[in-house]
């Protein structure tokens, strides 16, 4: 384990300006996540879970506070530097899969490896597809795949470059219970295999069981999740 945490949030605040009213979604949030740890962040729809994820990924800028990845503060990085950070360290899984529709399953998985100039990109991508059980669907386009299959391709793509961090945003939100379970199991096994730090955002307490640590977002603050918190969860919109 390295000296500094993999992800560290210091007094992270995000305020949205909407007309004359300001909406404070995150309010001086502090959090440390160590390498290979997995954290689930629970909360009802609109509580700021996805905002938190976006800030960690450098997809959005905080109003104030600091985000450190492996001890490096990221809010001062330029868009290009943030892109490179994501390329090298961060994998994503989304509720709506976010596969590139004009690429085959194999090409979708290949892309992050190609961006890292991996000379074995195609072979590695094939291996990953094999791991998620989609070898025979490698040359299909996303529209030709079911929701579960698309999410498995997305998982293969996320893990392909062996990222230090995997950010998962409601990965089972668009799937039926059984398929969702399969996807969660895959996430768990792949994470173990690659030693990836996981931040899982969900409103599904069953999904949250996957994580070592469960936190809830309440009024802009992170608090340890309790069974009460779980009970408060509303279906995601």
């Amino acid at each position: 384990m390295s000296a500094s945490p993999r992800i560290e949030l210091r007094k992270l605040t995000k305020v949205f300006h909407s007309g004359s009213a300001d909406l404070s979604v995150l309010n001086e949030v502090d959090l440390e996540i160590s390498a290979e740890e997995s954290v689930a962040i629970l909360g009802p729809s609109g509580s700021g879970k996805s905002t938190l994820l976006a800030l960690v990924a450098g997809l959005d800028r905080p109003t104030s506070g600091e985000i450190l990845i492996d001890g490096q503060s990221i809010q001062t990085l330029s868009e290009s530097e943030l892109a490179l950070l994501r390329r090298h360290k961060i994998g994503f899984v989304f509720q709506s899969f976010q596969l590139l529709p004009n690429m085959t399953a194999l090409e979708n998985v290949q892309l992050p490896l190609e961006l890292l100039s991996d000379s074995r990109a195609q072979d590695r991508a094939s291996e990953l597809l094999d791991l998620v059980g989609l070898t025979d669907r490698a040359h299909h386009y996303p529209t030709q795949l079911s929701g579960g299959e698309q999410q498995r391709v997305a998982l293969a793509r996320a893990f392909a470059p062996s990222p230090a961090i995997l950010l998962a945003d409601e990965p089972t939100g668009n799937l039926d219970r059984r398929t969702g379970r399969t996807v969660l199991d895959l996430i768990a096994s792949l994470r173990r295999r690659f030693g990836t730090t996981l931040v899982l955002v969900t409103h599904d307490s069953a999904a949250a069981q996957l994580a070592d640590r469960r936190l809830a977002l309440e009024d802009g603050q992170l608090v340890p999740a309790t069974s009460d918190t779980d009970g408060l969860l509303a279906p995601s919109g």
């Binding site: 996805s50 994820l53 976006a54 990924a57 997809l59 959005d60 868009e79 290009s80 892109a83 490179l84 994501r86 390329r87 090298h88 994503f92 989304f94 976010q98 596969l99 590139l100 529709p101 004009n102 690429m103 090409e107 892309l111 992050p112 190609e114 961006l115 100039s117 529209t143 793509r157 945003d169």
Partner: protein, 845 residues
């Protein structure tokens, strides 16, 4: 990102975008084709003129004059044995069928060319039977153009009358190297030699004979020697003494200038098509990139930098630009190949290059440059796509900063101006073109905006549901209303303006002659022939007979300054040089004709001075005013006249009018001929002409109707070329419209599916779309037609000084075609959406 990955991504990104790419390429190719065809044809003509320079003159040097060339000039040239000389005379006269009974045969005006010596020195004289011209001509034999045989129903071996003498037709002439370009010829060619000309006795006093001496230097003589000889000749005869000395290089320069003038104008017409193409390219790119926003967000999320993304789509723009450029260049070169087949006889040279590398480079350069310029804004917009969209679909791209926006507009305008200045080879004209385009596009945008804002609320009150939805579609988000109105409107402006100018010109020339206007001119009448000619005209039933004397003269001085000096002072003012050095034709009259009005001075009011009345425009060209003194040389006798009146002339009456009218009592005894005008009886035109040709073979008769028809026909052929180019802009407009519609095909498909699910029939959906596009057509049609009419008014009245007519039928046609074409294009482009089954679309959604 390494190069291999870059190209792999390019290929992957192209998948599923072929239709959009096809529109991009087609829009650009249409514009490039227009530019390449104009530039290519012009370059090929220039090259042809350069290559065939000597052929165009049929000699190294020509000396021409309306007076017989001075004997000392002949001496100068004949004492140099290395020079070969051929004397040519050209005049217009009447030819007639030699009738065995002695009664007058059918007559026809002809252009006579008298050749004494080797002809041509350069180039090819196409004659049938083939062989040199000399042996075919004799004192009794001529060679004629094929259309004379057709018109007079003669054949080779038949006899024709020239100057009352019979000549045997020994052959047919198809083309002469020095015939020049252009559709204007008074009559078919007749070639004869000097002996024949003397026998026909057509060189009478006052006949308009152009004397031309063709000079050939020994083969291999350098161009400088030709110039030296030309200078020597000019020094001997005086440059502005009515004698024109031209080397093959001068001839080439004149033609090159003419080619460049036409190229400038047509180049701008072609550029408009290219700009419309650019608009289509912008619209297609914008729609394409809008459909890629989610993909861009994913790319960014996976670690592609903003620059990587922009470079990726820039690569597409470059590749598509190249493809459009190449296809357009190929199409343009193909047009260049076929134009000479269609209008070859209007061109000064025959053997044209098939394609011009320079033109292809220019067309492709302009095309790709403008394509990149027009895609710049949508390409830069990719940088503003937030990767956050992967989490929240509602995240819109960051708005473009005002400064960047202004900069983008500035760059676009600068680009358009540069292209226009390049095409017009003139910065000022380029600026005018750019301002015109901006104003027109601005007005069309405003109209589209008003349409979207005002008609949509009004549409809610319309009866049928399809009409309501059709109107509402115009203002829905993502509707291509603005782009379509601008594109179609700009095309309509150009095509309507061209149609109006063409119709205006044609009507001006083909319109009914004013009541009482003469229908024919009679020229070269000897004074002693006039009473008999007049009697004959009366016997044949002619009315409105009028005749005046004509005295030819040369202007020597204006207010004491010689014409040579004055002409040298304004080397670039062709009109002034022409006015000063032309063969002046004077008449003398007690009273001015009714179609003249004095605007300054009083007619024949100074008993002390010999007076002359000068036409207003001619006075301006000469630079004279009341009291100016004009020194003339009337066949060797000097004559000083004072300008005592300036007058305007209504030339459209076709009466006999002169720039210079002299006070009576001065010129009566000068050598002169008469010209006359008359109104021939409608049915008896040909018989009057035939009788005249038989009895007075030296008198030439010009039928005004025929003359105007010939000019109109020639102009129509020239304007057809411009119309052809104009049609490119309409094609570009239609493509843009179709591209815009197809860009929104996904949303359209969903909408159609929803409406069908809700119970709308396919016919009603089609009617709804027809309403939407017809309205675009109405707005583009109204503004475009109005713009085109305004432009034509400007061109006709200001630039051509002709009258302008409103032509309601043309306006209605333009409007109707705009609406029909736009509605049809809309329906055709939406056909796919109309045909799809609603379930398939909704499931895919």
């Amino acid at each position: 990102m390494n190069v291999a990955l870059y190209f792999r991504l390019l290929a992957r990104e192209s998948r599923g975008s072929l239709k959009r790419f096809a529109f991009f390429v087609a829009c650009l190719a249409v514009g490039v084709a227009a530019v390449v065809s104009v530039a290519g044809l012009s370059a090929a003509l220039s090259e042809g003129v350069r290559r065939e320079a000597r052929q165009l003159l049929a000699a190294d040097l020509t000396i021409s004059s309306l007076q017989p060339l001075p004997p000392d000039l002949h001496e100068l040239l004949t004492e140099r044995p290395e020079l070969q000389l051929t004397e040519i005379k050209e005049l217009v006269t009447m030819a007639a069928v030699a009738h065995p009974t002695g009664s007058p045969g059918t007559s026809q005006i002809v252009e006579l060319k008298v050749v004494d010596g080797v002809y041509p020195f350069y180039g090819i004289l196409e004659v049938d039977p083939p062989g040199p011209l000399g042996p075919k001509l004799s004192s009794e034999a001529v060679v004629v153009a094929p259309d004379l045989l057709t018109r007079l129903e003669l054949e080779v071996g038949s006899d024709i009358l020239l100057g009352g003498q019979a000549f045997r037709i020994a052959g047919v002439v198809h083309s002469e190297p020095d015939q020049g370009a252009g559709p204007f010829r008074l009559g078919p060619r007749v070639l004869l030699n000097g002996d024949g000309f003397r026998r026909a006795d057509l060189d009478q006093r006052g006949s308009r004979v152009m004397h031309r001496l063709l000079v050939k230097l020994p083969a291999g003589t350098a161009g400088e020697s030709v110039e030296r000889l030309a200078t020597e000749v000019r020094e001997r005869v005086g440059e502005f003494e009515g004698i024109r000395v031209r080397t093959y290089k001068d001839a080439q320069e004149t033609l090159q200038q003419a080619i460049h003038r036409v190229e400038k104008f047509l180049g701008l017409v072609a550029l408009l098509s290219l700009l419309l193409g650019g608009l289509g390219v912008a619209q297609t790119t914008r729609a394409w990139l809008a459909s890629r926003i989610d993909a861009i967000a994913i790319y960014r999320c996976l670690g592609l930098r903003p620059n990587d993304v922009t470079k990726l789509y820039l690569g597409h723009a470059v590749l598509l630009g190249l493809t459009g450029g190449i296809l357009g260049a190929a199409a343009g070169s193909l047009i260049q190949r076929f134009v000479p087949i269609l209008i070859g006889d209007l061109l000064p040279v025959s053997d044209l290059a098939w394609w011009s590398p320079g033109a292809v480079a220019k067309g492709m350069g302009l095309g790709i440059g403008l394509a990149l310029l027009f895609t710049l804004a949508p390409l830069l917009a990719t940088r503003r796509v937030s990767p956050l969209r992967v989490l929240r679909k509602d995240v819109e791209p960051v708005p473009q900063g005002r400064g960047v926006l202004l900069l983008l507009y500035g760059v676009l305008l600068l680009g358009i101006w540069s292209a226009a200045a390049l095409q017009a080879q003139d910065a000022k004209l380029g600026s005018q073109f750019t301002v015109g385009i901006v104003i027109a596009a601005g007005l069309l945008s405003l109209a589209a905006f008003v349409l979207m804002r005002s008609l949509t609320p009004l549409g809610r009150h319309l009866g049928p549901v399809w009409a309501r939805h059709g109107v509402a579609s115009l203002a829905q988000p993502g509707a291509a209303t603005l782009g379509s109105v601008v594109a179609v409107g700009l095309g309509v402006i150009l095509v309507t303006a061209l149609a109006f100018v063409e119709k205006g010109l044609s009507d001006e020339l083909r319109g009914e002659l004013p009541t009482g206007a003469p229908t024919a001119f009679l020229i070269d009448i000897q004074p002693d022939q006039w009473p008999a000619v007049e009697r004959l005209l009366v016997e044949q039933g002619s009315s409105h007979i009028d005749s005046v004397a004509v005295v030819t003269a040369r202007l020597r001085t204006v207010d004491g300054k010689t014409v040579s000096e004055l002409a040298k002072d304004s080397p670039d003012d062709e009109d002034r040089r022409w006015a000063l050095t032309r063969e002046q034709r004077l008449t003398y009259l007690d009273e001015l004709p009714a179609d003249n009005s004095i605007i300054e001075g009083e007619l024949w009011s100074d008993p002390e001075a010999w007076e002359v009345s000068v036409e207003e425009d001619f006075a301006t060209e000469l630079g004279v005013e009341l009291g100016s003194r004009l020194g003339f040389d009337i066949q060797g006798i000097p004559l000083d006249l004072t300008v005592s009146t300036i007058r305007t002339v209504d030339w459209r009456t076709f009466g006999i009018n002169f720039f210079l009218v002299v006070e009576p009592g001065i010129l009566e005894d000068a050598p002169q001929v008469r010209i006359a005008t008359a109104r021939f009886p409608e049915q008896g035109e040909q018989s009057t002409q035939d009788v005249l040709a038989a009895e007075f073979p030296n008198v030439t008769l010009l039928k005004i109707r025929d003359l105007l028809d010939k000019i109109a026909r020639g102009l129509e052929r020239m304007t057809s070329g411009i119309r052809f180019l104009g049609s490119f802009s309409i094609l570009a407009g239609i493509l843009i419209l179709a591209g815009g519609i197809s860009a929104g095909s996904v949303q359209r498909g969903q909408r159609v599916a929803l409406l069908k699910t809700l119970g709308m029939t396919r016919q009603e959906v089609a009617a709804m779309m027809a309403t939407e596009y017809a309205l675009i057509g109405v707005v583009a049609g109204i503004i475009g037609t109005a713009g085109g009419v305004l432009l034509s008014w400007f061109v006709l009245t200001r630039s051509m000084e002709l009258s302008w007519q409103p032509y309601p039928r043309l306006i209605l046609t333009s409007l109707a075609l705009s609406v029909i074409l736009t509605a049809l294009t809309g329906i055709v482009a939406s056909w796919g959406a109309l045909q799809r089954r609603p379930l398939a679309v909704l499931r895919a959604d």
